[in-house]
Subunit: 248 residues, 6 copies
């Protein structure tokens, strides 16, 4: 189901029979001492593969560069601007439409990309209202997370290299996690960080927001499978809608 492994000669009819493309979107960003810089790319890629199997979609090559602001002054973080990312996604969307795709899942594993992804989806909607664009960032997982979590999150929305994200990696790409280096780090996040630009280097040196040592493969499985179920449900519904539409 890897799009780029197909040949052009055979792909045309395949797009027609399954006009559904999945883009893994991640980032290169500091993820503490136990996770690699490419953690978000690994997560996006593995999730995309599993979703593709369930919904019979094509996995596009991973877009490995995202918008990294909060951790941009940590070693190893690379960033592209929101404006650039929006253009890149709308260019790709235009190409997909031209190629006959009708559903595009942007499977995003880096929260910093969320703004650009949503804006790109809206711009594509204005130009191609019939082209369905979905942007997923672990949808429908709130209950499952509450269920498995042993420690409360250190922040209502920030989520990084912690009990949960490490668990996701243990489940999806366990061979890339070095749990011997996992730490617990509960930063004192200043409340102003939600209302004024605040690089995370002002409150953490590790880039771990919480209890990475509590991560387990099982917790990851529970949440990730929930996300996959939810994404599958939404995408299959969209496919059915298309079929209904085609049947008139």
């Amino acid at each position: 189901m890897q799009f780029q492994e197909q040949t052009s000669a055979r792909i045309r009819e395949q797009i027609q029979s399954s006009p559904l493309a999945i883009l893994p979107l991640g980032a290169v960003e500091a993820h503490g001492p136990h996770l690699p810089l490419g953690t978000d790319n690994d997560l996006a890629e593995e999730l995309s593969k599993r979703l593709a199997k369930r919904v019979n979609g094509w996995v596009l090559p991973t877009l490995p560069y995202g918008q990294v602001w909060s951790l941009s002054d940590f070693p190893g973080s690379l960033s592209v601007s929101n404006e650039t990312l929006i253009r890149l996604l709308t260019d790709l969307g235009d190409s997909l439409v031209r190629q006959g795709f009708r559903i595009w899942v942007i499977l995003n594993a880096h929260l910093g990309n969320a703004v650009a992804v949503k804006e790109a989806a809206r711009q594509l909607y204005e130009c191609h209202p019939d082209f369905r664009v979905f942007y997923f960032f672990y949808p429908g997982t709130q209950a499952a997370i509450s269920e498995v979590r042993e420690k409360p999150p250190v922040h209502p929305t920030y989520f990084h290299a912690c009990e949960m994200e490490t668990s996701y990696m243990l489940y999806l790409a366990g061979e890339k996690v070095d749990m011997s280096q996992a730490i617990d780090d509960v930063p004192d996040i200043p409340p102003e960080s939600e209302v004024t630009p605040t690089p995370w280097s002002t409150f953490t040196q590790s880039a771990v927001l919480g209890y990475a040592t509590l991560a387990t493969r099982e917790k990851g499985e529970r949440v990730i499978e929930t996300a996959l179920d939810r994404m599958t449900e939404i995408v299959l519904q969209a496919k059915e809608d298309l079929e209904d539409l085609d049947r008139g």
Copy 2:
């Protein structure tokens, strides 16, 4: 040497000791019946790995989307505009400078990217004159190509899915080539194609420009190793220049 597999915690000193990043840059583009859509990504990625070993550099995650114009109406081709690609590369270059990198090799395997890559390099040069940016597209291989080629090229500059490019793939990613599907196709390229916008669909249906059946792993090896030698030589010289500079 895969940058994104490192952890942030360890990468800072590693950048200092080897401030050299290599970006594989390809495209998703029709490559005939015997080569996958991601051929240019495969080539860029493999070349980058081999160059990295020789020069002790870091391989960044592959940027798999490029500027595809001539073949954009072939099944499976995806494209981003020159303007978007220039922005993406300058954003990444700025990040690399901020992270302490001093040499950036953009290892490009898709000719359509050449304009954007050169423009981005020039813009970075204006902002960061001490940051060395190299853009490689099989440098120094003209003689080796003439030596191994059995059939003349079908065009002085176009080069696609042919005796040579297929040979590169056989050497660098042979498992992705299906020689049983290789064909010879010598299109009648109208001479105006060099002086007016001309989608290739006006002169070829296969996207193969020449004699793919003549490709061999050995031809590929001869040319690719020549390119690697040349790139190695240039990069090592740049590293020496930096050391000279640092010593004052």
Copy 3:
């Protein structure tokens, strides 16, 4: 404390003694049968006046046009793009810096502006790291809202012309509310609306998301005063930080 009511001749020293500007930012947007199109402008303006008194700041003229997407096809909604709004805010920020301001509160009462406001604040941070920009959208009110609310919200994040927002208006600009027209409308919001572009006209005809009839001035007072307390605390801390800085 209305900035535009001052004369230039007297304002210079006044900026030096209180280098704190507050921008009311709203929108013109459908708000159901009982609230005016300018609801968000009224809220932003009244909140700004009250905050200004508490922190001794200047109220800039209200910026009454915001980014309206979800309700843009409702009668009376007017919209500017995110890109335009970002430019406008960064232009104003540059002017404020030039005029000697050191703290800028963007008091936003329209959720659709949040993306542009945050992006503008970050861009200003890159250019003027010592210029403090705060973006407020009812900060610190979660507990107070839970306390006063009689009915659960119809959606975890959407919030519009409902029990809460109507209560805010009753407290801050009661004369503009026509409670005789207030309705309860609990739309069936499709869960996909969070993962794909979804104009609200697909699930509501009233633009009321919930129980407007339950709104009271007292509920509004409770939440608004909490927000004002929180904003006051943050801004006074920023002023103290400046004074510390100036004293060395």
Copy 4:
């Protein structure tokens, strides 16, 4: 006739019966010791209200930020660039068209906005040729001004915080003028100021260009009523043209 005081529920048919919107456009800019920074906003707003009554139009919320270059280094001046202002106006124009408006009056009281307003009107004309956009800056008042003026203007085109503009304020917003602070200041404007960028701080410290002490409410009335007559005439003609058109 304040647009933002209407509800969405009632506005649709009202737009159809009077598809005419009036935007007050001003600026925040130094206006000498006797006039507030928001003088242009006050003028634009009052003029808009009076015009709206005469032509049965809707007054949009005032856009209070304009392009201020010449006085940008005076205390209190705030500026947005021409480019930003053009985008903002075209975004709003697109929204108005979408909402069913057919005539848009941009009632501008700040000369520095004239370039952006005209450019925006032209760009809208290219996209929506049937949408009538008028840009007014005291049209048709030359004779009336000559008639009431006691002192000659200090410059053929510059006009600021002087006998005339102060008179306009006395008539339209007299409560905001402090005539006890009014001064006469006849700067020695270098003739090059018309042919090379020349901040006004090079020739005036007061920002008053002429004889503010000579201003009277009566002079203001004479000119402002003339402008209102002229604007009314043009707009009513445009409405009639529409009706003719609709009748075929």
Copy 5:
């Protein structure tokens, strides 16, 4: 004094001894039955040559494409947008600064360019405050025009292919005028044309605004020499200012 006829080898010291560049700026635009499309280019070029002689400046190659809106639907008119023209002029200005020029005269003979020229000059002023940019459009000629004119102008500001402009051509490039084709055409210009976008094709078919038959070489000489005197005076003053500056 033609800049482009010099060699690079000799120009460096020449720029230092006369760091003054003059850009003729015109347009390709309909000019009635008796004047060529390139009239504004001819005028700009001839004026530039004469000014260069008087002030010892360099004449740059003519920029022959301008912003043409009002007459853009007349046969032969070519146009570039304001935005493009601004960029082009600022790019050139940056180059001139880099080359050591200190004074730049943009000698504009097409009124439609005035907005872009002024904006470009202001942008250059922000970046290079010591680089003097002058924008001339027949400065200081009002009295001379009143003196020679036999018929009143058909419009207070529009001026095109008429008694005056034709006279300028007769004086500066008489061989390009075909007086046998000159006509008088007094269009009924609707007063709204000053307050709403109005292509001139709505009121004239000839593009002649007035009495071309009354043009004479003598009238042209009177006005053009006045303009040249004025421009000379301003530029020589600027040169003296520079010398004063250099002497400290």
Copy 6:
């Protein structure tokens, strides 16, 4: 055949009978001690005139400013960015389409413009697929050059102020060449110049790349006439294609 020497009154039908415009495109750039800064403009202009005669086309006014990067720090070089040049050419192209032109030859004599010209042609192709845009830079001359050249080129693609370009000038604008100043200068061009931004000032002080002393009018004639033959052939074919199209 000079477009701008025509009158609007007569040009409409002339465009219909010959809807073919030729734009001479050059640059202002250092060309050694024997050639003027405007060499590329002279060449583009003369070539355009001769081509126009052969194909019955209109010569537009020369666009004398191009993208100059490699020699931008040589005395006298002026540059506009690629982005500006692309916009300018697409604006002009849009105007030409609007005027009824159907074929546009961009006759470029400065290699640095090639990227912008090709990109502009492609963008125009997307908007106006039936508008034929040709970009010529001495097409079809390789064999003729090999034939007349006495010394090998100093570089496979760079070509500047040398045996060949000087010969072109001797043939097309001999009066502007000062052969007494011609020199031979064989710079040691570092091979990295093809793979990293390299201003030519790092390897040449003369801007002559080769043997200018070997230039002759005869060599120029041989190559230029070949180029003219080739351009003529292509353009006449395009005209025939149009006629075929019109005849259905």
